[in-house]
Amino acid sequence: MRDSRQLIVARAVQEVKDGMYVNLGIGIPTLVADALPADVNVLLQSENGLLGIGPYPTEAEVDADLINAGKETVTAARGAAFFDSAASFAMIRGGHIDLAILGGMEVSQEGDLANWMIPGKMVKGMGGAMDLVVGAKRVVVIMEHVNKHGESKIKKECTLPLTGKAVVHRLITDLAVFDFTEEGMVLIEVMEGSSVQEIQEKTEASFIVAAHLL
């Protein structure tokens, strides 16, 4: 059986280009940082006020005053900068972040994203996700194609409360890669071990199959 998480992360890594300023969401997106090739130099932004997240610290380096947005102890990379929360979100909202890679609960065929709240469950809050999806130049969502009941997480319309409307540029799942274009949602890649037919069966949303896959 394929490890869907590894597949997704390995594909997401290809979205990150040398020289970018990137914000990685909490959870699986964080794993993208460790998988980056050595020749891809990027500055990772942490919305609590750090541009240039470094590796996790050694025991001796642990510093309670230096954490990432997931509240984990980190270090600062060479060339890093610290700033306050308003400056951090000016950076995000102002369109200065090249790429945000975020997790998702549902994505619609219009590129709507839901990833912060399940009705009936305790609301934890959206943190910085709503700002990131409207502010980053490019928003890539990574998630499993179906939920644990085998139901498509890619919907005609999201059933969960939205994080942002028509904000997703690209969606990477364990089965497929889609782009959101003027014409609609387009299947642009079939992941290893999957097929156009399997993707069609497991996707509730309507999508176009790119010409090179036909």
């Binding site: 996790y56 306050d84 979100f89 943190g127 700002d131």
Partner: protein, 234 residues
């Protein structure tokens, strides 16, 4: 001129924070929280507080102490998922919650401190947080009207201060603290070191003393870490 803003007693420094006050409190998670002022407020027992802060601590530390003591009536925050007492009080209706996207929260505080009553942002358009908010179109794109926040008091934690209230923060413990400092009618700062006027390089001051009314020296900072991760853990 009130050049010496240093207070020696935390309990006296929070004495005039009355029931029903609105507080803006710095910190992100447990990083850069004014832990001594929160403890003093817990000991004083002030009730019906409206607290504006990115998070609400954990069950037994930070703002979670005020929650456990039932001192908070309303919380304005972006993420509150680390706290079971929070969940209980929210579900029972004891606690009112206004969830605000983190960037909007930061800008509302910044705006409040800068004399700006409202601003437009694309954050939240088409989502549940847009309900009841004015929408305005700029250049074909929709934006929501969000309001600035001013607190009766702001409680902040800095690394160093001079006796005039100029503040310097350290690493990511800066977070919401400098903007919170601007948005309190009375801003109280607790710090790890107080130096004489002139010892801080004017170029290195993050928060000019004009925003700060009281400075206190805290001792034995706990600086609790929420997720201690070291090399090789992940």
């Amino acid at each position: 001129m009130a050049n010496n803003k240093v207070w020696s007693s935390f309990s006296e420094a929070v004495e005039d924070i009355g029931d029903g006050s609105t507080l803006i409190v710095g910190g992100f998670g447990l990083c850069g929280i004014p832990e001594k002022l929160i403890e003093a407020l817990k000991n004083k027992g002030t009730k019906n507080l409206t607290v504006v802060s990115n998070n609400c601590g954990v069950d037994d530390w930070g703002l979670g102490l005020l929650l456990a003591n039932k001192q908070i009536k309303k919380m304005v925050a972006s993420y509150v998922g680390e706290n079971k007492i929070f969940e209980q009080q929210f579900l029972s209706g004891e606690l009112e919650v206004e969830l605000t996207p983190q960037g909007t929260l930061a800008e509302r505080i910044r705006a409040g401190g800068a004399g700006i009553p409202g601003f437009y942002t694309a954050t939240g358009v088409g989502t549940p947080i847009a309900e009841g908010k004015e929408v305005k179109v700029f250049d074909g794109k929709e934006y929501l009207l969000e309001e600035g926040i001013v607190g009766d008091f702001a409680l902040v934690k800095a690394w160093k201060a001079d006796t005039m209230g100029n503040l310097v923060f350290r690493k990511t413990s800066r977070n919401f603290n400098p903007i919170a400092a601007t948005a309190g009618k009375i801003t109280i700062a607790e710090v790890e070191e107080i130096v004489e006027v002139g010892e801080l390089d004017p170029d290195e001051i993050h928060t000019p003393g004009i925003y700060v009314q009281r400075v206190l020296l805290g001792e034995n900072y706990e600086k609790r870490i929420e997720r201690r991760v070291v090399k090789g853990d992940i």
